[in-house]
């Protein structure tokens, strides 16, 4: 990605940005996030299919914000998160340089958030057929069996909250799980607390999640928590129409239509 390295170095040299957030070499075959503050460091930047972390998560962190204006390496999933954060008034156009990377690994620069939205119109969120089948399979189980399946799947969760830390949309500075007067959600690895934590996590992302799978990738126990957000994504589409981050649309759960339809309220 010589193009990317050159552009990042230019931005740092001309002091347009003070920090570049990108992907670098990690341990073994993995990649890790790197924060570059000197133009000479830009040759550490890499981009390939292993770069799956969602870097947008750093944009709302106070520790990163105080380092100055950032430029961020942004493949499609990161672009979606940036757009969602922008629509929630968490980012400003002057406060950020977006170095977009297309699926073909070419550099694409964005002048505005609106330009990102235009670009993403041709990269719509689609749930993999593989996942559609899995979700369908789970939903076709009898209710008791489905409950047992999830209790078992969630059993290894020990509340490390890596899923929360990896998610760009979990930017609340104080989370419900930190409320201990009363203790809303048991912090121990208790099946009830596990269930409640994952219900809450999914509900707080309803109509916001951009389906980047960062939560699943971050989970040390490999719990398929992304199936919950994917299933909700299907529900949003089914009930409230086409879905995706947008500057012109309110979030699903912070807006309504008088004509919203349901079949279960008596």
């Amino acid at each position: 990605m010589n193009e990317l390295i050159k552009k990042a170095a230019e931005l740092l040299e001309s002091n347009v940005v003070q920090i570049v957030i990108g992907y670098g070499k990690g341990s073994a075959e993995r990649t890790r996030t790197i924060f570059i503050t000197e133009a000479s460091g830009c040759d550490q930047l890499i981009f390939d299919s292993r770069c799956i972390q969602n870097l947008a998560v750093y944009l709302t962190k106070a520790e990163i914000k105080k380092l100055g204006k950032p430029a961020i390496v942004a493949p499609v999933p990161v672009l979606r998160s940036i757009l969602q954060l922008a629509s929630e008034n968490q980012l400003t156009e002057d406060g950020l340089v977006v170095l977009g990377v297309t699926p073909e690994s070419t550099l694409i620069e964005f002048e505005s958030f609106a330009a990102i939205e235009t670009y993403l119109a041709s990269h719509k969120i689609e749930i993999d057929e593989k996942y559609q089948k899995i979700i369908e399979g789970i939903k076709s189980m009898p209710v008791e069996e489905r409950f047992a399946y999830w209790v078992k799947e969630l059993e290894p969760c020990f509340k490390c909250y890596a899923c929360r830390a990896a998610c760009p949309l979990c930017y609340c500075t104080r989370c419900t799980v930190e409320n201990n007067q009363p203790q809303w959600i048991k912090s121990a690895s208790h099946p009830l607390g596990n269930l409640e934590w994952h219900v809450m996590r999914a509900m707080h992302h309803a109509g916001r999640c951009t389906d980047c799978d960062a939560c699943y990738e971050a989970c040390p126990m490999g719990i398929p928590i992304h199936l919950l957000t994917k299933s909700m994504l299907q529900d949003v589409t089914e009930n409230f129409g086409p879905y995706g981050p947008s500057l012109n649309k309110d979030n699903t759960l912070s807006s309504f239509k008088p004509e919203d339809k349901e079949s279960f309220i008596k």
Binding site: K139, H190, L253, F264
Partner: protein, 148 residues
């Protein structure tokens, strides 16, 4: 063994359903006594976590009720609540939490008879479903461990 009596928790809004339930009483309409009513300012205030807490504390069924659409005291609280319920119901269904145990309804302050009917039909439905042992097992996990 005594017959199973369902424990039902009702989350209702102050302006419509709570007043409606009051009317049920002042109209001398008899209905099942299994329901414990919790009053909220608005259905928009009923956090989904409260419903989970009710199940966690041993409820067998839940009623959530408020003003009819367009009737909200706060103009749009029930519209927001409706969207939240649609999403929440889908998520619970995905997780295998029995959505038949949660009855949503719109009951206005003039619908005392409807409230009695909602409670009675819900109590009967839950009676048929039996106690919510699956959830109770999860909620009582530590107690069970302590006994061993």
């Amino acid at each position: 063994m005594t017959e199973f009596e369902p424990k039902i928790v009702a989350f209702v809004c102050n302006w419509c359903t709570y007043a409606g339930a009051d009317l049920t009483g002042t109209s001398r309409i008899k209905y099942a006594t299994n329901v414990k009513i919790i009053r909220f300012p608005c259905t928009g205030r009923i956090d989904f976590m409260l419903l989970l807490k009710a199940f966690g504390e041993g409820a067998d069924g839940i009623i959530v009720s408020g003003c009819h659409p367009n009737d909200c005291h706060y103009t749009s609280g029930n519209f927001h609540a409706r969207r939240r319920w649609i999403m929440f119901r889908g998520l619970l269904d995905m997780l295998g939490i029995d959505v038949r145990r949660i009855q949503y309804s719109w009951v206005s302050a003039a619908e005392g008879a409807k409230w009695a009917d909602i409670v009675n039909t819900t109590v009967n439905a839950i009676r048929d479903l039996g106690p919510y042992t699956d959830y109770a097992k999860v909620a009582g996990y530590l107690e069970k461990e302590a006994e061993v």
